[in-house]
């Protein structure tokens, strides 16, 4: 009852000066609008740039590096146990590239609750024969289905259909730049040779464009079985297992654990791409800083308008106090005024922010580097809206607090006698 009375008085005071109120509310609305738009747009861009690398990068890559065997024969000789070994002319062991016991590893990954999914992979160095010249390239044996599901493979296919890799044997998806060099179209047959000299003919079923030209110049994809055949390896031969976790932040400890458990090398995404995190964080900090600055400016606007209102309403405040409203009541009345400006201005700001970011979302943004992006990217996360309305309430609260305190301390005797 008492609260309702104070709110009614606030409402009457607000509506009596509705133009001023509107100006104050528009200040809040404008800053919240810009805050929402800026953050949505910035984070949309962040997601886009991160996605460029992170979408295609496994959270944990299990593989065997080409390196000397850590367990040399002399170490096993009883005679030299505990001695210091000098070994010369050690060679890296390339035959160990295959992941041993890959089937068992995959079965165990399937059961791991932290794992979202995995995709097996096999890489071969090949030469694409183009008349008299050979172009070096990398042929990746993949399971198209898993790649599409886990690593957004389809987003980077600009012609043809990646699923055809599974449907037809001896098929290939070429990097866009590579295909341009080879002058081939979907449906054409190309010839490639392995480092051992074997020649194969593969049918082109699609083009791949990652947005990074260096990658598109050398990469190509085929099914695992096709690559195993090209390399003349058995069908349990794979060189890489790409794991996607449910929580990317677990990648460092999980990678360490897998390296020990499966006796392979394990590279986690955070070590591999640390610089992307940093870039995103800095962009976010800048957008928050700008947004909050806008809000603080709006806060000063509210502060000014409330101060003016209190100056004008001296008589009313005096009479309220004389008829039994305490300083606290008067303070609450002005706090309600400030908060309602913040609340209504803020809600309008959220609405306009949403509309403005929707408009930006419609603006065409075509770049050769990003085949699937047609318009400016926007992130519509609810978090920005929650932060926006909370900040508008907090700023208006503090902007109202000082004038309200001033109003609560007005001495009615001074006002009434002052006339």
């Amino acid at each position: 009852m008492k609260k309702i009375l104070l709110i009614n008085i606030s409402k009457a005071l607000l509506l009596a000066r509705w133009r001023q109120t509107l100006v104050a509310a528009i200040g809040v609305t404008f800053s919240i609008t810009m805050f929402i738009t800026l953050l949505s747009f910035m984070n949309g861009l962040n997601d886009l740039l991160d996605g460029l690398i992170l979408n295609r990068t496994p959270h944990i890559k299990l593989y065997n590096d080409i390196k000397p065997n850590a367990n040399q024969p002399i170490m096993n000789a009883d005679k030299y146990k505990g001695k210091h070994h000098f070994i010369q002319s050690i060679k890296s062991d390339a035959n160990k590239q295959a992941i041993y016991n890959s089937m068992a590893i995959m079965t165990s990954l399937k059961k791991d609750p932290r794992v979202l999914g995995y995709s097996q992979k096999l890489t071969a160095q090949v030469f694409f024969n183009n008349g008299t010249t050979d172009i070096t390239g990398v042929l990746n044996g993949i399971t198209a289905e898993d790649e599409i599901k886990l690593f957004h493979f389809n987003d980077y296919i600009v012609g043809g259909n990646a699923s055809d890799l599974e449907k037809e044997n001896n098929t290939i998806v070429l990097g866009k730049s590579l295909a341009e060099k080879l002058l081939v179209n979907v449906g054409d047959v190309i010839q490639l040779s392995t480092s051992k000299g074997d020649r194969f003919q593969l049918k082109v079923v699609g083009f791949f464009q990652s947005g990074l030209k260096d990658v598109d110049m050398v990469q190509s994809f085929s099914s695992i079985h096709t690559v195993q055949k090209i390399l003349t390896k058995p069908n349990n031969y794979i060189t890489e297992i790409d794991v996607k976790l449910k929580d990317i932040n677990l990648s460092i400890p999980t990678a360490k654990e897998y390296a020990q458990l499966y006796e392979t090398d394990a590279e986690d995404i955070q070590t591999a791409n640390a610089q992307f995190e940093t870039g995103s964080t800095i962009r976010s900090i800048i957008s928050y800083a700008v947004g909050i600055t806008l809000l603080i400016v709006a806060g000063f606007g509210i502060y000014n308008i409330l101060n003016m209102m209190i100056f004008e309403k001296m008589d009313s405040i005096a009479i309220l106090k004389a008829t039994g409203f305490s300083g606290k009541d008067v303070k609450n009345i002005f706090m309600y005024i400030a908060i309602s400006i913040g609340l209504f201005g803020g809600i309008a700001g959220l609405l306009f922010g949403f509309i403005l970011s929707s408009i930006i979302d419609q603006i065409p943004f075509v770049t050769a580097a990003l085949p699937t992006i047609k318009t400016f990217p926007i992130n519509y996360s609810i978090i920005f809206y929650i932060i926006g309305i909370s900040f508008s309430l907090i700023t208006t609260y503090f902007a109202g607090w000082f004038p309200a305190r001033k109003a609560s301390r007005i001495d009615p005797v001074v006002i009434i006698r002052g006339k």
């Binding site: 009852m1 009596a16 008589d315 409203f325 305490s326 006339k419």
Partner: protein, 225 residues
């Protein structure tokens, strides 16, 4: 035995600015229930200052003040606000209505603040008070559309809404013409004699003071009669 509504004991007050001046010098008196008292004196004798001390709005004094035989603390601002709301009604020289509200709401505000009756009941009471002062036809007008005399009558209705122990007036007729002054005086008289309402009115108008039941005369911060 008459009931003492208001009692002042040895009240002393100084103005500090610009030099220390004793404005109220050892003031003691009391007002009984149903009395119609006027407080008069020359300009600057401290009568308004005394009224604001008695009204609890000015707490910067020495001595003690009893309203309804309860000693008023000088510190507790929200308690004093409650006392003003419940036990004191005010009428000022300048009418001081809230221009944002209509007449009815102006009268209702202290009643709603008291929160003793429901909104409907307070509204009903407000109409009763307006009727008593013969201005119920103005109920739905905005406060700034009224004439001076009408405003002052609305202010009296507002002072009455919580059935206060005492109504205090600071030159309530000072800003009105003869006709309206008489009207306001008649209202006060009617309240005092028909409704046993206690009234303490500060005035420098001797004609007004003479017609009240009791005159307290002040000079240089002292009560002289």
């Amino acid at each position: 035995m008459q009931q003492k509504i208001l009692e002042a004991k040895n009240i002393v007050k100084f103005f500090e600015d610009p030099v220390k001046v004793k404005v109220l010098n050892d003031i003691s008196f009391s007002i009984d229930k149903g009395e119609f008292v006027s407080l008069t004196g020359k300009s600057g004798c401290g009568k308004s200052t005394l009224l604001y001390v008695l009204s609890t709005m000015d707490t910067d004094y020495e001595g003690s003040l009893l309203i309804d035989q309860v000693e008023m603390p000088q510190k507790d601002e929200s308690y004093l606000a409650k006392i003003r709301n419940e036990k004191i009604g005010f009428v000022f020289q300048f009418h001081y209505l809230l221009n944002e509200f209509d007449v009815l709401n102006n009268v209702m505000l202290p009643g709603l603040k008291l929160n003793k009756y429901s909104r409907e009941k307070v509204e009903h009471r407000a109409y009763e008070k307006l009727k008593l002062l013969e201005i119920e036809h103005l109920a739905l007008k905005k406060a700034n559309q009224l004439s001076g005399g009408e405003k002052q009558r609305v202010a009296i209705a507002r002072a009455l809404i919580n059935d206060p122990h005492i109504i205090m007036g600071d030159e309530p007729t000072g800003n009105l013409d003869k006709k309206n002054s008489d009207l306001v005086f008649d209202i006060f008289k009617k309240l005092a004699h028909e409704y046993k309402q206690t009234l303490l009115i500060v005035t420098h108008d001797p004609g007004f003071a003479e017609r009240t039941d009791r005159i307290i005369k002040m000079e240089d911060g002292k009560i002289i009669s």
